[in-house]
């Protein structure tokens, strides 16, 4: 299989990428790691006139901390999140999710921003970003927008990104409270897309009550789902077994799974519930163990 013919350009500067995107609009496709786009090109599900490779633009890669945020360059590879062990204790859910994305070879190429922009309902980063309350910095010629993860994922492979925009950065707020999180994923075999997965991120207040809760669900709907009712049921509460079980039930209710070869809708909904319940216990244990 090989793609239909296209023009290719790999600008060295973001401005050039943005002006090309402004010029070509829907005829252009941004190329990051290529681990979703190239398979689509080969299947000819995508046939852009021009492919704009952002691989040579400086400043789009890397993880840093700044002003109460962890910043992840959009072109940071899955693999580089996997090895960012200093995120342990602050953003456990990222470190737990990264090694479960596909296989080591895809993780060496695939990028966090590419996965978010691709918006596969079974993509893992979507659920994670909803759980941690991330914001996405997107740029077009002469404009910058900051889009919250909540509301960004609108349908299968459909997001709030316009065709003339590039995602440059993911910003994740990290407070000073005690936080914990985790990612649980059911897959048919190692390296597979999720049958069901759940991302959990909790911050505890000084009084031991839940100060904030983030829960994202993967592969149980038309897009990554933020389980807002479950989150609300936790905030301000002491995280007892009953509170956790009730929140997990609400998260299961938020799932909108479809039956397929991987399982019935009922089964997947229950896996989502169980994962959120287990995930919350782990997140709270970790937060309670964490230094303030």
């Amino acid at each position: 299989m090989f793609p239909a013919a296209f023009d290719y350009i790999a600008p060295g500067a973001l401005d050039e990428v943005l002006s090309l995107l402004g010029q070509h609009g829907d005829d252009a496709k941004v190329l990051a790691g290529g681990q979703s786009l190239i398979p689509l090109l080969k299947l000819r599900f995508a046939a852009p006139v021009i492919v704009i490779d952002i691989g040579r633009v400086d400043g789009l890669e890397g993880i840093s901390r700044e002003n109460g945020h962890v910043r992840i360059g959009a072109r940071t590879r899955h693999r580089d999140v996997e090895s960012a062990t200093d995120l342990r204790g602050t953003l456990d859910v990222l470190l737990d999710a990264a090694p479960l994305i596909s296989d080591p070879l895809i993780r060496n190429m695939g990028t966090v921003g590419g996965s978010i922009c691709h918006a596969d309902p079974a993509g893992d980063w979507g659920a994670v970003m909803l759980a941690v309350g991330a914001e996405f910095v997107v740029k077009s010629a002469g404009e910058e927008r900051v889009l919250p993860a909540a509301g960004f994922f609108q349908g299968p492979f459909t997001t709030g990104l316009q065709s003339n925009e590039v995602m440059t950065e993911i910003r994740i707020p990290v407070g000073s409270g005690k936080s914990g999180g985790t990612y649980l994923k059911l897959e048919r075999k190692v390296g597979d897309f999720a049958s069901v997965a759940a991302a959990v991120h909790i911050v505890l207040g000084g009084d031991g009550r839940v100060a904030s809760a983030g829960i994202g669900l993967c592969a149980v709907g038309a897009h990554s789902i933020k389980a807002t009712a479950a989150e609300a049921a936790l905030v301000g509460q002491e995280p007892t077994d009953d509170v956790i079980a009730a929140a997990a039930r609400l998260a299961g209710d938020a799932a909108e799974p479809k039956a397929d070869i991987r399982g019935s809708a009922e089964y997947k909904r229950d896996v989502a519930r169980v994962f959120v319940q287990r995930g919350l216990h782990t997140a709270i244990d970790r937060a309670q163990g964490a230094a303030a």
């Binding site: 299989m1 090989f2 793609p3 239909a4 013919a5 296209f6 023009d7 290719y8 790999a10 190329l31 290529g34 681990q35 190239i38 398979p39 090109l41 080969k42 492919v51 490779d53 691989g55 040579r56 693999r79 090694p99 596909s102 296989d103 080591p104 070879l105 895809i106 060496n108 190429m109 190692v190 390296g191």
Partner: protein, 161 residues
């Protein structure tokens, strides 16, 4: 378009259509057929090459993405007629049957022990989890990589002493 890169230590400049996949460039244009095409759908790892030292799937890579990079294929493992320790490991431990997955397995194994000289069995199994073997059941592939890691360790201590 022109793409300039290094393959197995040799600088190359090729004229390709942008849509050319790296695996086709290597096999057809450069005539090196050690890099295999298994699934052609990014799932099997038969097409594994090292890109700046990291294993990637060359069926899921466009030729222009190689610009300025270093590629290693299975043909680049042996140096001056001497097998690389990973090749010796696969030979000694019989880490193959049909051999179709072997180039990819060896490149992944080599990158793995370069990053982690003393991998546990679990780490090896995790490291090769993107490469499918339909024949061996993986037991001897794991042993082959362990063999190479042990050989490298001995060689390194010998060098130090």
């Amino acid at each position: 378009m022109k793409v300039t890169f290094e393959i197995n230590g040799t600088a190359k400049s090729v004229d390709v259509e942008p849509r050319t996949l790296v695996v086709d460039l290597i096999r057809t244009k450069l005539g090196m057929t050690g890099t295999h095409i298994g699934c052609d759908t990014s799932n099997c790892g038969a097409c594994t090459v090292l890109l700046d030292g990291r294993p990637v799937k060359s069926c899921t890579l466009l030729a222009p993405m190689l610009e300025g990079k270093k590629v290693t294929t299975v043909e680049g493992l042996a140096k001056g007629g001497k097998l690389d320790s990973i090749q010796v490991g696969f030979h000694e431990e019989h880490g193959l049957q049909c051999g179709f997955c072997t180039p990819g397995m060896m490149l992944v194994g080599k990158a793995l022990i370069e990053a982690n000289p003393h991998p546990t069995e679990d780490e090896i199994r995790w490291g090769i989890s993107g490469n499918i073997c339909r024949c061996t059941g993986y037991m001897n592939i794991v042993k082959a990589i362990q063999h190479a890691a042990a050989a490298n360790a001995t060689e390194n201590t010998a060098g130090v002493a």
